[in-house]
Assembly symmetry: C2
Homo-oligomer: 339 residues x 2
């Protein structure tokens, strides 16, 4: 195919084959015994795990957004896969799902096997950390779509839950405590605004060290989106969480109401939120109103759990992570209120 017309049109099947060879062994390390087919078949077979009486599937799909631009700027491509996986895991875990398998979509203008290998390494690491199989994906070379050295990635997750144990939030009631778990940083939200402030307004480079952050701009902005499945799965299994919300785009204000009953409000006490230095830095240097900051960013809390006071001690004993009691559920109208 060296001098083929297809290659002249910008598509290099040989480089694609090289990339597939590189990622085959990485991907296989994620396979659980429920994966029934290997790489190369059109679709991938996955058996429904044993032990469920009335299982339901819970699926979601997401991207990493413009956090990818930071990967391009730093040349670090082996963490965005973890961001993608962990974001997707959190999105189905808030409904009580155990993650089963993951598929990825990687699109680029010109395919470099080494970059694909880095991306897939991150995906595989994320999958393994969540006990999940990376069962397939699509690698699309699309000349003229993406700038040189750039790409986009999306992920698709499928999990499973016992139908009568799905977390819908309907068990949430006035008096429940709102427990927040720390985020690592921006996770995967608010990057268009954060990049504007860091790189355009302040003219910083990814390698610049920022005292307030204790690291370089690139290090701060590539901090990996945390998966809360490993630290919260035991508490979910015990049935002592009444509802969970993943704090993504839209912040507390948009995400918590998604799981609230019609007659409940979530009262968030701002002085209880462990606001991370990066958000203080962005608010100050970006001249952002506090209200907008709470709508765009997670502010330092990546996941909230609503827990009845009678279960709180058991919750604390099961959760091996720093937790913050940031608010309480009150009678209301399905709103999150910052006080």
């Amino acid at each position: 195919m060296e001098d083929s017309k297809y290659k002249a049109a910008g598509v290099n099947i040989d480089e694609q084959d090289k990339a597939i060879d590189k990622i085959k062994s990485i991907v296989k390390t994620t396979f659980t015994p429920d994966v029934l087919t290997g790489i190369g078949s059109f679709g991938t077979l996955f058996q429904i795990p044993e032990g469920f009486k009335n299982p339901v599937l819970i699926s979601s799909c997401d991207g990493v957004g413009t956090k990818l631009k930071v990967a391009f700027m730093t040349g670090i491509h082996n963490t965005v896969g973890q961001d993608l996986v962990n974001h997707c895991v959190n999105d189905i875990f808030v409904q009580g799902a155990k993650p089963l398998y993951f598929l990825d979509y990687i699109a680029t203008g010109k395919l470099y096997a080494g970059v694909v290998e880095d991306i897939v390494s991150g995906l595989a690491k994320g999958c393994k950390e969540n006990g999940m199989s990376l069962i397939g994906g699509e690698m699309a070379e699309m000349p003229g779509f993406y700038s040189e050295g750039e790409y986009d990635i999306a992920g698709f997750i499928t999990g499973i839950a016992e139908r009568d144990k799905v977390l819908t939030g309907e068990k949430i009631k006035p008096g429940d405590l709102i427990i927040g778990l720390k985020s690592t940083g921006l996770h995967t939200n608010g990057y268009s605004l954060a990049r504007k402030i860091f790189f355009e307004d302040l003219g910083l480079k990814v390698d610049d060290y920022v005292d307030d952050l204790g690291c370089t701009v690139g290090e701060e902005l590539l901090k990996i989106h945390k998966s809360y499945y490993p630290v919260l799965k035991d508490a979910v299994k015990e049935g002592i969480i009444n509802g969970m919300a993943h704090i993504t785009g839209g912040g507390f204000l948009d995400n918590i109401p998604r799981v609230l009953p019609e007659d409940c409000d979530a009262i968030i006490k701002k002085d209880r939120v462990p606001v991370l230095p990066v958000f203080k830095f962005l608010i100050e240097n970006g001249d952002i109103s506090e209200k907008e900051a709470y709508r765009v960013f997670n502010m330092g809390i990546g996941m909230v759990c609503m827990v009845s006071p009678e279960n709180i001690e058991k919750f604390y004993s099961l959760v091996k992570d720093e937790v913050f009691e940031i608010g309480v559920i009150e009678q209301g109208f399905k709103k999150a209120v910052l006080i």
Copy 2:
């Protein structure tokens, strides 16, 4: 949010909300009774359909590739969703799966609610034609990633099959007939090369009428990728197909071997292939070798079925579509051979 900093950074949550409002009702029309949650929850719940003894899930993921550029050039955005859905359906149907549900990823630089509505209309139409639910998706606004008016889309499909009825190709044996079903055109493969020939080499515009094609360039290049599920599902149910291959990127030569046993070759008789006018046009005007054409394009056959001679009459009676006996399985080495 009119004057928000986030909007100034290129992200408009209000336009996203508008787009979500527009697509809500469209998406709901695709829901089968197995969809247990509506739009707005973090993940979507789907119950495993009744009637399966030992069900396995079959999943796949794909994009539309640079066919999207033709959508941008023509301003027609309501067909690429069908391309995406049908491509994904075929990829899992070749293993005997019944399509269950679909999720989409739509990424763009600047979000226009009307364009998103068109894309999702196509996705919903494709889903309904395949008896499948469009249960969720991600709409990502990524300033600086995509050129003005451009976007990328990816799809994730999940289907189900009875474990002992999964089509692996292992039943294929020497003497089986290779039956091809017509494609509508390029489907979703070879677009980088085709666009180069039409638009760069020949300098044609999407509105130019081409006598050899009997339509405009835009009409030809937007012909919808066909789903073979509706026309072949009865034959699959009857168990009279020994193996199927979806003819996508890589053509006959790469795709048929994926389902062949180690000791079988697929002998394709070129004079039996109903080569579509668009491929003759591309070969002639693009100065492409026949060998490369068969590796890049489907040439007019979008799906092949391997069928035992004793089942062929029943196959013909069950398949309500034009079929072409394009070859035969012989003893060999897992290769597709053009003669």
